[in-house]
């Protein structure tokens, strides 16, 4: 990785933040989806527990 690569012909402070934001967006999508899924499972488990305790 030469210095040329990192400096991107002088445009480094535009190019690298771009890729950084892209990486952040992709990471956020994965993280948020995982969190959303965990919350949904929790809510479903609670609803099932309530329903079965009412049935008793």
């Amino acid at each position: 990785m030469t210095n040329d690569f990192w400096s991107m012909g002088g445009y480094a402070r535009y190019v690298w933040p771009c890729y950084g934001i892209a990486g952040a967006v992709l990471a956020w999508n994965l993280w948020a989806a995982r969190r959303y899924m965990a919350a949904a499972k929790l809510r479903a488990a609670r609803a099932l527990a309530m329903a079965s305790s009412e049935a008793r």
């Binding site: 012909g9 934001i21 992709l26 994965l30 989806a33 959303y36 899924m37």
Partner: protein, 244 residues
């Protein structure tokens, strides 16, 4: 031939399919994006006009294309849900919206960062950036409408109608913005877009686009599972499903 379509109307089937597909989509996405990054940053030669700055295309254009694709998927799923009353459609639409918003924001920020060295300012009322901004507003409208209802099904259906109305408007908005921009053509020397591209520049772009699409598919699978769970809580298959 239509049996697979009918099967997709069943929430537990969709849940299972999404769970199965997700790792494959994510893996393929990683490969495509990986190749795109290596080839785009390392192998493709610098552009004649824009120099190294053109490399921002490899995240800006896929982001913009994705934001449009996701909105279309959201609208189609919404239409299917409204016409045939298939609730899974609502799950797909609700799952897609936040993903689409994130890509629209990506497109706007990278577009702004690309515009600074090319045009000297962080924002210009370029037709594509302006259309992208309005698309973001349309997304926010759909998401806000869905969450404003207490009855989730009614919220789903209202948001679905809005998504369908919006998708009809997207080409109209884009056309009108392009038309308006041509009236007030400033001195844009360099178009914020694809330069004439030889293969070594084009392939990484296509790969990044494909990678982003596959990534959207993977995240959609994850979110659709959650959305389906939220809409089907009392059903018996849920008990088995959440044990995993």
């Amino acid at each position: 031939m239509w049996t697979w379509f009918y099967k997709l109307a069943s929430p537990p089937y969709v849940y299972g399919v999404a769970a199965a597909f997700m790792p494959w989509l994510l893996g393929l996405a990683a490969l495509a994006i990986g190749y795109g990054l290596v080839a785009g940053l390392g192998i493709a030669p610098p552009d004649y006009q824009q120099g190294e700055a053109f490399r921002m295309i490899y995240v800006h254009v896929p982001g913009a294309l994705l934001s449009l694709t996701v909105y279309t998927v959201m609208a189609v799923a919404s239409g299917i849900a409204l016409i045939w009353r298939i609730k899974v459609g609502h799950a797909v639409a609700a799952a897609s919206a936040p993903i689409g918003v994130s890509f629209a924001i990506l497109a706007l920020i990278t577009g702004s960062l690309w515009g600074k060295p090319m045009w000297g300012t962080y924002w210009v009322w370029d037709p594509r950036l302006t259309s992208e901004l309005i698309l973001l507003f349309l997304y926010v409208g759909v998401m806000s409408l869905r969450s404003a209802f207490e009855d989730p099904l009614r919220g789903d259906r209202a948001a679905a109608l809005l998504a369908v109305v919006g998708v009809v408007n997207v080409p109209i908005v884009h056309f009108s913005v392009v038309w308006w921009n041509s009236l007030h053509q400033g001195a844009t020397i360099v178009r914020l877009g694809a330069p004439k591209m030889p293969g070594s520049m084009l392939w990484p772009l296509l790969s990044m686009w494909l990678g982003f699409m596959l990534f959207y598919g993977a995240v959609l699978c994850m979110r659709v599972q959650a959305e389906v769970l939220n809409r089907e809580r009392q059903a018996s298959w849920v008990r088995e499903a959440i044990k995993s």
